[in-house]
Symmetry: C2
């Protein structure tokens, strides 16, 4: 991929995020109807409108690219370039009026995420990660912070209920070893990890559209995103994720999770 | 208290919130040192600067009023008018770069909170509740929403770890009965309850400065704030709080918590 092609795709990704934000904002803090999906997670007209807007733009401008979206499924997902879309990550925050939700967009090339965006359309914050380039928050380069030990680390996850079966005990071991545990920040926690204000995000049961944008965003800021086993994320993996700003605390988290 | 006196006190409370925000903003998303207090909760120079600023203004303009502050304690707390201050409610959010923390200010008259402010100095959101008047968010009147049943309700708390002993089982009973549970929004959840986007906030172990501002804010928006027993909050109470937007779901929550 030449720099010119990459730049054109980055510009296109910004347009996707702009369009999704424009679709979402009119619904924020309005009494929008909340439907339950088959997995009992909530979805609203804002989720659907944002994903439809993005899909329409991809179909129009890059009809050979594939799409994997949370609300409307997969098309051409064996193409060399595939866009993953979570129109509103953090729908529970969104319907509660809390601006820590985000639109997640990733471009996956031959199975590897090479571009990621977290866009918060109310605060106007946009994180952009591109393979081989420094990650930016609203155009300004950001870096993860140093953190050597679990005892120094802050740890985030969306909710304790995401850890089922043996994951629950593993999470409890890790949570008991860190300086501070906090729930409820969704994708915003990954963005703040990339910006150097959080040390670890550990989650389970993530889908491709949840984690794909995080890999280039966090790696481009100096951190790393792996499975709980410490190995690279895979599109067909188990959806368990460790994001860390420092390799030393990452290694400690992998060991602690595996200790049971 | 005449309307003129009340208006002057409200204007003064706005000045306190303005000054606290100005003290806090320079520290947001900077690598501020985090100290552990004796109860192991975090505190920063921003917490201290904001409370000192507020205390200085009260001492200068209302030297007969009492002060109860989270960081610097009590003075003249038997005065007819007492200000309660939590300079940064949600210090964990603050140090993580998440703008859901808030400055909490209440004016307590003869033991009853008659004025409450939640100020979010990054997003620029300010909730103001005054006994006998409609609650406002940035000057616009807000109302709680209807919610009859626990099965329809969204429920917030800062963290599961705040429920110790028998409270843990009571919380689990309540959490199992509602539509949606969410952690991590601190004072922001009370503001969004007053604005009609959240149905219940149930917490334990709150101090006066945590709950005092919520009473006028939520009552002035049509809701109510009580202990877990459904009775009015008391300054010397046990710090367990139910905030609800609708009396019907409030009653259901009281019953569910007591059911064990």
């Amino acid at each position: 991929m030449t720099a010119t092609v990459a730049d054109a795709l980055v510009a296109f990704a910004h347009r996707l995020a702009d369009a999704a934000g424009a679709a979402i904002r009119p619904y924020f803090r309005t009494p929008v109807a909340v439907d339950a999906k088959p997995d009992s997670t909530p979805v609203t007209a804002a989720d659907r409108a944002a994903e439809e807007t993005i899909r329409r733009l991809v179909e129009k401008e890059h009809p050979a690219h594939g799409i994997i979206g949370e609300e409307f499924g997969r098309i051409r997902d064996d193409a060399p370039f595939v866009w993953s879309i979570d129109p509103i990550d953090g729908t529970k925050a969104f319907i509660s009026g809390i601006p820590t939700f985000g639109t997640l967009i990733a471009l996956i090339r031959d199975g590897t995420p090479v571009l990621g965006i977290i866009d918060q359309p109310i605060s106007g914050e946009r994180w952009v990660g591109i393979a081989g380039r420094p990650t930016t928050l609203n155009g300004r380069e950001i870096r993860t912070r140093e953190c050597r030990l679990l005892a120094e680390a802050s740890l985030f996850a969306t909710a304790p209920s995401m850890f089922a079966g043996s994951d629950e005990a593993a999470w409890a071991r890790l949570a008991g070893a860190v300086r501070m545990v906090r729930y409820g920040a969704d994708c915003y926690a990954y963005g703040l990890l990339a910006a150097g204000f959080i040390d670890l995000v550990v989650e389970a049961d993530l889908k491709v559209w949840d984690w794909a944008p995080m890999a280039p965003i966090i790696e481009g800021a100096g951190g790393l995103v792996t499975g709980w086993d410490g190995r690279p994320m895979r599109l067909d993996g188990d959806g368990r994720v460790i994001a860390a700003g420092d390799r030393r605390v990452h290694r400690a988290a992998v060991e602690r999770l595996a200790q049971g």
